[in-house]
Symmetry: C3
Subunit: 159 residues, 3 copies
């Protein structure tokens, strides 16, 4: 009987607006009783970073990357009209007026709906991120795990 | 007997080249007798804007966004080598030589082929767009409608 | 019996990191015995360019585009934190330490695994590329060929 529909999203982008799109689709699919996975890779990993600085040992390169990348969903920029951070402020202001959920809440909702939040271990290593810096409840996996889920997925997207 | 194949494209991007790719695939799929939907969200909505300014009531933020975003497909920029608008001019020049259809014609063709052009109502609101500014024949819907179509789609893409 | 699973990736992006993601997924899928196609279009074509300059006849526009676009996978930039070419250097340095395969090797591996590398003829023409400039073993096709493969694909992605 295991006939649950499946949605598999690769979140590659580190942009606030694209991550929002990913999480809105994911939460929608979970509400429609899909089994949903978001596989975060490259810049998309930043959506899973804790927002406070965490004490971890890093080499010079890792420290550099760590400093330059946004610490968590709320600090991500827009893919268009970012205007050095002014764009995201505008969008968040407008979202509040329209009662649209900001990205950190969309991520919380995803957890509550038991969406599988996966981080690509290979790119975690490349970007010098440590597990302590990434929010709890995230699984670590690779392309094999992604394909295992996606090959009988109904909705597969790369965002 | 309802065994028509389905193609569902989310057009998130506001870039001329990406929108062209979306509409070329969509028109191709329609020619192969797929049931095709393009779900426009975020910057992708600009492809559906009328190119002349329309008198509508807007608050300050909405006016600002409205002014900054391209008014219609023909005014969109390139994702690469845009060079402050020179890139699109070059590409259009070259397309003319190769008899490739420019984006506004691809959109016209999509309408003639009865491709479903859908605008995401949530992001229409966020970007402060009004229905009067958007071309006729567009439907307004949300993530539920998208998923309803995509979950038994053959070709699902996020562009 | 022809029940091989299928992965079809459109590589539109000309970014090193996105192309890497495409080729990692493709190689993974091939290892899992999928029939895999990467359909290169627009800026994604640059991944297939030979890295040495090739003597070909071009008009002015074609020459201009040819000069401005990266000559081969190794010269592509990053979608984020490119810093005028410093970002790719950093990433490649880190990849070496982690024994991660650089993009040109991922492309070699794809050939060895008999992944179908397809170049979109229409965009080859638009960007003024000549077949002599593109690596051997690449097929040339259009949207019809793409759809023929993708409409019964298991994993379809637009990158």
């Amino acid at each position: 009987m295991e006939s649950k529909k499946k949605t598999n999203i690769i979140l590659f982008s580190g942009d606030y607006d694209k991550a929002m799109a990913a999480y809105i689709i994911a939460n929608g699919a979970a509400a429609y009783d899909h089994e949903v996975t978001i596989f975060h890779t490259f810049w998309g990993l930043n959506a899973l970073r804790k927002d406070e600085p965490i004490k971890v040992k890093k080499n010079f390169m890792e420290m550099l990357f760590g400093k330059m990348m946004p610490r968590g969903a709320n600090k991500m920029g827009l893919s268009k009209m970012n205007f050095a951070g002014f764009g995201p402020k505008m969008i968040k202001e407008i979202m509040k007026k329209h009662n649209a959920m900001p990205l950190p809440e969309l991520i919380e909702m995803a957890k509550e709906q038991e969406i599988n939040l996966v981080a690509c271990q290979m790119t975690v290593d490349l970007l010098g991120l440590k597990h302590e810096e990434i929010m709890d409840g995230v699984e670590y996996a690779g392309v094999a795990a992604y394909l295992g889920g996606a090959e009988d997925g109904n909705v597969n997207l790369f965002i």
